[in-house]
Amino acid sequence: MPETRELTLGEAVREALAEEMRRDSRVFICGEDIAEAGTVFKVLTGLVDEFGKERVLDTPISEAGFTGIAVGAAMTGMRPVVDIMFGDFVTLTMDQMVNQAAKVHYMSGGKWKVPMVMRATLGATRRSAAQHSQSLHAWFCHVPGLKVVLPSTPYDAKGLLKTAIRDDNPVVFFEDKMMYRLKGPVPVEEYTIPFGVADIKRAGSDITIVATSSMVQVALGAAKLLEEFDISAEVIDPRTVWPLDEKTLIGSAKKTSRVMVVDEGYERYGVTAEIASVIAEGAFYDLEAPVKRIGAMHVPIPFSPPLEDATVPTEKSVFEAAKALCSGGL
């Protein structure tokens, strides 16, 4: 067993960035309030002291602009990491990401690469209201040319972010803003985690719960509640929603015959829909019941705390849906 210590998810992200910046001088970070402020979530605290303001580059409030800078820098050989404080504002970066970053390698006949990472946040229940609480990662999954990463633990966050920075393609890396203080073991020695490899967070035999990002923690909590009802839940974290480890998901579905997909993005046309259809296609004749999806309700995320809590999946709602699915309801 390699030596480990407890890190928060925020610390794991910072450590990944610091290690990669030490390892490769082409890596730099740009975004709002990232230097002395260390971001509003204090994830980048201290990086500016080690790497200076040229590599930890504070920008004006101009997401489209600094994302464009990153795309251009990446095309000329740098390895930028863009920081989008609130993932809601990826809206402003869409042309750069969708029409430029995702297309350049293809349209240049492979002559140009865009080895950039966009780090953004997702997740509700921070009482940040409708424009600062969304989980819009599904938008990027829809576009060929972009990879989308959703870590759920400090270990995964560090290993996946290092892989993202070393990847020659544009990668969008979503961190749940409510998970920055989540603690977990992280090895002292260096490691990376390959994309497209799901992780079975908990083995089980009666139902498969596929969950992403902070919903993995929600699913693990629900699995504990299900234990009391003699329902053994397997919790699987795809870790990267593109590329997607279809084989592991389908394999687990075939094993348990019942599947739920939990993701904090909007349920309608969301990540849950894609994963559910992958499983339905791959494991149909091994399913005991339709694949159940739980995502955010189709409403703007409310500011009111009780309403906000009712809008996104919770341990209780996941537990109840899983229990209903296992009690034979089709």
Partner: protein
């Protein structure tokens, strides 16, 4: 498949009375169809030649679906229509549908196409196919009889159990209706012992003339039908129906008389019995009971009743509680007339006594209303001669 009654959704073909290619004329009996309530002869609706018979004996066919064509001599039946035969189901192939979980809870399920029936998970369907398990024989353990793979695996292991015989529509309907009534209708029961002396007396007085003039023997049931119908006229709520959100008073007094048939009981209806003479009631009752015995009741014979009388006196039953036949609100259970020792003017005496038990739907009537009706009925029976004398 013709609609032989208002609410009919499907009919089972009992037999074809003509063969394909037979020349038939309008009005000739063409086939026999069993509905939920009776077996009915269907007459040819036109002259011509029977052709393109799509549905065969034993098939249950939704109303409106083409079962055959009557064509002109030399004419071909039209090409297969989309709504035809596929919707039919051969009941003989589904003996296990008699297993409780798979019995349709209402007549509707019977009309369902192949897509209906108990639900089965994709995994269970695959396993059933792989292991040669007949899913129609499985009673699903999930909600609404949903079949899971565990059910299929259990069925694959279980030794073959002889399937219960398929229920006739009368038996099935009886099981469904009594279960529905007993579980949904809040029954209450009022019991009354009545001196039947006057009833016996008026039968002795009235019966001979009726038998002579009309050729029918008057029974105690006939007298009770006539008396009850006349008393009901004054108690509209006893002749009413629970309509889901209110009480519907029925304009006519249509007396339903419980009659035993081969494998169950039906309520044969004497319409407007309050205005019918005793002789007419006796004639109708005899006609209905003869046809009930031979299984030839028409749907119209067993619909529209507003109050039921059921008499088990001929089996020496003293008293019993009957189950209401919704949407009716009450049923009168009649026991035998037998000599019993009763107080008469402070002395023990022997009288021909009869026990009436009235079951009522508490959503429609309350105890006091039902009691007043039963009291009025008792008074009418005590004065049967005066009530029926004009006949």
């Amino acid at each position: 498949m013709p609609a032989l009654e208002m609410a009919q959704e499907s009919g089972k073909i009992v037999s074809w009375l003509k063969k394909e290619g037979d020349v038939i004329s309008k009005g000739e009996p063409l086939l026999e169809v069993e509905t939920d309530k009776a077996v009915v002869e269907v007459e040819a609706s036109a002259d011509g030649v029977l052709a393109g018979v799509k549905s065969h004996e034993g098939d249950v066919v939704p109303v409106g679906v083409t079962i055959a064509w009557i064509v002109a001599a030399g004419e071909q039946p039209p090409a297969e229509s989309a709504t035809a035969a596929p919707a039919a189901r051969k009941t003989t192939e589904q003996p296990a549908s008699a297993a409780p979980a798979n019995v349709p809870t209402s007549g509707q399920a019977e009309t369902a196409g192949p897509a209906d029936g108990p639900r089965i998970s994709p995994k269970a369907r695959r396993l059933a196919k792989e292991r040669g398990v007949d899913i129609s024989r499985i009673r699903g353990s999930g909600p609404d009889g949903t079949i899971s793979s565990e059910d299929v695996l259990a069925a694959a292991k279980a030794p073959a159990v002889s399937a219960p015989a398929a229920l006739s529509s009368v038996a099935r309907l009886m099981a469904e209706r009594t279960t529905q009534s007993w579980t949904e209708v809040p029954h209450f029961f009022l019991v009354r012992d009545i001196d039947a002396g006057a009833l016996l007396q008026s039968r002795e007085q009235l019966a001979p003339a009726i038998e002579r003039d009309r050729g029918v023997k008057v029974t105690h049931t006939d007298l009770l039908v006539a008396l009850t119908a006349r008393v009901l006229k004054k108690h509209p709520k006893m002749n009413a129906s629970w309509a889901g959100n209110g009480i519907r008073l029925n304009p006519n007094v249509n007396m339903s008389v419980a009659m035993a048939v081969t494998d169950g009981v039906v309520g044969a209806v004497i319409p407007n019995a309050d205005a019918a003479s005793l002789a007419d009631i006796a004639l109708q009752r005899r006609d209905l009971s003869e046809r009930a015995r031979s299984g030839r009741l028409k749907p119209a014979d067993v619909t529209g009743g507003t109050f039921t009388i059921t008499n088990l006196g001929m089996y020496n039953v003293d008293a019993f509680n009957a189950i209401i036949a919704p949407p009716q609100a009450a049923i009168l259970a009649v026991g035998r007339i037998a000599d019993r020792v009763v107080p008469l003017n402070g002395q023990p005496g022997v009288r021909p006594m009869m026990t009436l038990t009235l079951s009522s739907d508490h959503r429609v009537v309350d105890g006091a209303q039902a009691a007043i009706f039963l009291n009025d009925l008792a008074e009418a029976i005590r004065a049967a001669g005066e009530w029926l004398g004009e006949n």
